[in-house]
Amino acid sequence: MTALASRNVNFLTKIVKCVNNYSKRLSSHFIYFPDNEAPVEGETNKMNMMQAINNAMDITLQNDPTAVLFGEDVAFGGVFRCALGLQEKYGKDRVFNTPLCEQGIAGFGIGLATAGATAIAEIQFADYIFPAFDQIVNEAAKARYRSGGQFDCGGLTIRAPCSAVGHGGLYHSQSPEAFFAHVPGLKIVVPRGPIAAKGLLLSCVRERDPCLFLEPKILYRSANEMVPVDDYTLPIGKAQVLREGDAATLIAWGTQVHVLLEVADMAKEKLGVNVEVIDLMSILPWDEETVCNSVKKTGRCLISHEAPLTSGFGAELAATIQEECFLHLEAPISRVTGWDAPFPHVFEPLYLPTKWRCMQHLHQLINY
């Protein structure tokens, strides 16, 4: 009996240890910092990011009779459920499945927009956008330029879930913003939560240039905010200063914003300093003014993104910041990013630019 009991205890300990390890391994790597301020007055509803995106598309389909929404598995709501209920509401000719072909989805969307429609195209995972690279880079981005301004496909918005999710491995985790940031003619936006997602998506839909809207998929369900029910937009190309401070400027977009917000709290508690945290929001065009003004004030800058270091969008930021803020800089600009390796499955917790890595860099930055 005693033996049995101790065996059970052993077994329990094992299970607890195992569950702990799994939770360490599978739990998300950040704390979500919700937006508490609504950008517009009026009624709000609690929404997660999936619902906020659904809401923005609902408003678009409601108000714009030319608008259509399509992609792989979109008819039943999409694999992340962002289109849930929209086919029932607006019909099969406006919300529909396409064959499984990303280059087709992008090209079809360009055509729709060329002919005057509003097109919201969903690519199932940003990792699968590359067959559409040619359509996006050579066609969408260059349509206005090559026609002397006669044609454009500004009515096209391509949505794609991106970034780490805890267990996505090589092909369900990538953050491909930098590939597209090299393409004049595109606009690229990454929201950090439901309020930003709704306002930015509605801006993208109405924007006169083709937009790539990258949705950090881990936020779909984990991010909840009180989102205004009414129609509103947030400007593309405008960053937001989420924390004000004087010790350093921390820049990120998407999920990583939340990592840096936690780092800002830790910095205050452990280092006794106030750092400024900027959500870039738009990758292309990006808000040079807000960023450079902040760095001129703080003299120190840390940029963090999930994508690999080499040629990540942080490189573009760093180059511009050193040009614009050279005489204000007290330390070299620090980049804390994913490593120069494909996004790995079981090593994800060590691959990501964790709050601890950011903390270490911030510490070095401040003590430089």
């Binding site: 008819a75 120069d340 090593f347 270490q360």
Partner: protein, 434 residues
């Protein structure tokens, strides 16, 4: 329709259980063009006609579905029964049972949070073993992601498969990919990647390389789904295979769904098979729930590929009985009745078992023991896999390049230094020490 007659059927010689394969030459007949000569444009040799004629998918009969067994596992035409040895037949069946038990347990283990992801193979077991048995083990496999039965048949162990799903230190893929992304050089099975159809033109290129090897006796088989067939890469693969005369079997697993998208929204026309003749590829359509039909078709296709250095396209019709993956609940877009109907009426494992029982190769007693043995093996293997640590974390940086460049070496050092200070915040004990 005159064009209907243009689809000719012929028998391949040299194979006792001959399989009807459709000719690639679906040229319209000349009979209507009494007054016209055959035009010889660089792009087409065809008769002139003076009456405008459009063709559509109804201009041709649907490509028929070849089967050997009926749904009760009874041989329909004894001439078509392949001469497969008893041991091989039993091994095919055992592989199907092992696969099915593995699916059941690994699916459940994902539900319990033990592994992060899984994809079952229910309903398609017959395609896996039928094709694997007809191939030579040296034939090179490029697969999509729902073909693990081929690996099992080739001798990859349940242990290796389970280790891959756990991404532990004995995973041949070193924990880098999500579960079910298998690969084995030893078993001539190229490691999977998640993007769809990317393997298809690669498979064609590999076939071209094999063709150029002196005294080549290997072909390539490329598995892909009805959804993947819509990708641009699929068209590229068909066209390259045909124009560059590659010894490849293009094996479409048409299971009716691409995640939620049913085939009626994936394509119009006569399925994936109809694209074969259009691009000059010898093509047949088979019942994928019938392992013997798949076996005969692959044997014939392989013979054609190696004898003539030409591609063949097989469209194996089946039904995806399971959800797309553990991330999917398929009852959101199809009825339980539909799933049950296919699982009951055209169950590849059941019909193959009945076939074996009829031949006296199998009985209920052996079956019970086999099911238990297959289940126990997976459970035991999982328990062992769970105890194994993850690969050393430095594996994250290995194999990006053949030789690690200084920039990545610097990053390894940076992480090392970071962990020396902040190590307590990471589950480092889950990783195997170097």
């Amino acid at each position: 329709m005159a064009l209907k007659a243009g689809v000719r059927v012929f028998r391949l010689n040299g194979l006792r259980p001959a399989v009807r394969l459709l000719s690639t030459h679906t040229r319209p007949e000349v009979q209507n063009a009494q007054n016209s000569k055959v035009a010889e444009f660089p792009g087409a040799r065809a008769p002139y006609i003076s009456e405008l004629k459009f063709v559509s998918e109804t201009s041709y009969d649907p490509i028929p579905i070849y089967r050997v067994l009926d749904h009760n596992g009874e041989v329909i035409d004894s001439k078509e029964e392949p001469a497969i040895e008893k041991d091989t037949l039993v091994n095919m069946y055992k592989t199907m049972v092992q696969l099915s038990q593995m699916d059941k347990i690994l699916y459940e283990s994902q539900r319990q949070g033990r592994i992060s992801f899984y994809m079952t193979n229910y309903g398609e077991e017959g395609i896996h073993v039928g094709s694997a048995a007809a191939l030579s083990p040296s034939d090179l496999v490029f697969a999509q992601y729902r073909e693990v039965g081929v690996l099992l048949y080739r001798g990859m162990t349940v242990t290796e498969i389970v280790n891959q799903c756990y991404g532990n230190c004995e995973d041949p893929g070193k924990g880098r990919q999500m579960p079910v992304h298998y690969g084995s050089k030893q078993h001539n099975f190229v490691t999977l990647s998640s993007p769809l159809a990317t393997q298809m033109p690669q498979a064609v290129g590999a076939a071209y390389a094999l063709k150029r090897v002196p005294n080549n006796d290997r072909c390539v088989i490329c598995y892909f789904g009805d959804g993947a067939a819509s990708e641009g890469d699929a068209h590229a693969a068909f066209n390259f295979a045909a124009t560059l005369d590659c010894p490849i079997i293009l094996m479409c697993r048409n299971n009716g769904y691409a995640i939620s998208t049913p085939t009626r929204e994936q394509y119009r026309g006569d399925g994936v098979a109809s694209r074969g003749p259009a691009l000059g590829i010898l093509t047949a359509r088979v019942d994928g729930t019938d392992p013997l039909a798949v076996y005969n078709a692959i044997r014939a296709a392989r013979d054609h590929a190696l004898r003539h250095n030409r591609p063949a396209l097989i469209e194996a019709m089946s039904y995806r009985v399971g959800h797309h993956s553990t991330s999917d609940d398929s009852t959101a877009y199809r009825s339980l009745e539909e799933i049950q109907k296919w699982n009951n009426d055209e169950n590849p494992i059941q019909k193959f078992k009945m076939y074996l029982e009829r031949k006296g190769y199998w009985d209920a007693g052996s079956d019970e023991a086999l099911q238990k043995e297959a289940r126990d093996l997976v459970v035991k293997t999982m328990q062992q896999a769970e105890k194994k640590q993850l690969p050393p974390w430095k594996e994250m940086f290995e194999d990006v390049y053949h030789d690690m460049p200084p920039r990545i070496q610097k990053q390894v050092k940076e992480l090392e230094d970071h962990l020396a200070v902040y190590g307590e915040h990471y589950a480092l004990d889950t990783f195997k020490p170097e």
